[in-house]
Symmetry: C2
Subunit: 210 residues, 2 copies
């Protein structure tokens, strides 16, 4: 195994696009999620994100990061205005449609129809879900937090509603994400395979390889 090494100077000296690819693609695997919102005219909007975060289970909160350099202004504006938004996990087969939501469509155009996905409504909830998703989560905006170093925005939402294909959740509450789309950075899409669930780790148990 041959090592490549980079210090802080090497990183700053790197050509800008290469550095963006490097730092983004290495920042870890993530689920590719589609965020659905309505604007004030109930025009739907759908945008891909890879920054879903577990914030708490009791009560259930999820976070979402809006980076200043790739801000989906429509999504952020709609969440701020409507206070409700959806998070949708698609089957891995929908990688191209999911990625296509990142194109800059005009404010009058819905990404749903533009990329060939379908809106799914839940009564009393003011944001569109994705019909093709395996997991659909409805959230209410609770908190917005700005990261000082570069104005990145962390949005915290409380989970109001969940619906999912019952085949991916078991009786313990465990949801198997194997069929869902994963990604890293801005352009790489992955499919995941469940290796195993581990028991609660105790100090006295010796480690062993899979």
């Amino acid at each position: 195994m041959e090592l490549k090494k980079y210090n802080a100077q090497d990183l700053l000296a790197m050509e800008q696009r290469k550095r963006a690819t490097f730092i983004n693609s290495m920042a870890g695997l993530k689920s590719a999620i589609l965020v659905g919102t309505f604007n004030e005219k109930r025009q739907s909007n759908l945008a891909i994100f890879n920054s879903l975060l577990h914030i708490g289970a009791n009560p259930p909160y999820y976070g979402l990061l809006f980076r200043p350099d790739t801000v989906r202004r429509d999504t952020l504006q709609n969440i701020t205005d409507q206070k409700e938004y959806t998070i949708n996990l698609l089957p891995a087969e929908f990688a191209s449609a999911a990625h296509q939501t990142s194109a800059k469509y005009g404010p009058e155009e819905s990404e749903f129809s533009a990329v060939g996905l379908h809106e799914h409504s839940v009564e009393g909830f003011s944001a569109p879900f994705v019909q093709e998703a395996l997991i659909r989560i409805g959230l209410r905006l609770e908190e917005k937090i700005e990261v000082a170093v570069n104005k990145t925005l962390l949005i915290i939402g409380s989970i109001q509603y969940i619906e999912m294909d019952q085949s991916i959740v078991d009786e313990t509450g465990f949801v198997n994400l194997s069929p869902t789309l994963a990604c890293a950075g801005l352009d790489a899409y992955y499919k995941a395979e469940l290796l195993k669930r581990m028991a609660y780790a105790k100090p006295e148990l010796p480690p062993c390889k899979l």
Copy 2:
């Protein structure tokens, strides 16, 4: 496809362990990362996290989330004291060793030796790297941000150093995370396979399935 539906009341009424499993396991695929630190006596500490976040590429910042219910107090204390820490991405084969770092070892005991991993030093950097990792990243603490709703802590670090197996990075800077360990929630480990990298999306291009 049969749907399971949960509203906010259903979630709050769920048995506590089941809800934790449900909300955690569904919160998206993540890279399983090991965070290495030293305490004031240069005793090493290693802890598993699944909340690596890309915060910025220019200059390069990564974030890490510390949840109040699973806080690794040693890691947080060490980062606060030493200002330096490492992030290590392991091959998927090391799932058991990575998981075992979550056991509650005493403050005098290093998780490195307890789980069978090896320390790797980089001159001038005050935190231990993991010898077995495919990607090793050294960070300096820049900012700590508290989430108001439940005291979750977001730690922002600037990237000071990176070393990796050169086989996983290409000439464009793209890092292929396929061989690295992924996870979801507290106990499920996954392996990812790269499907494809997509071109920059433009509105005029029609979507197509993979």
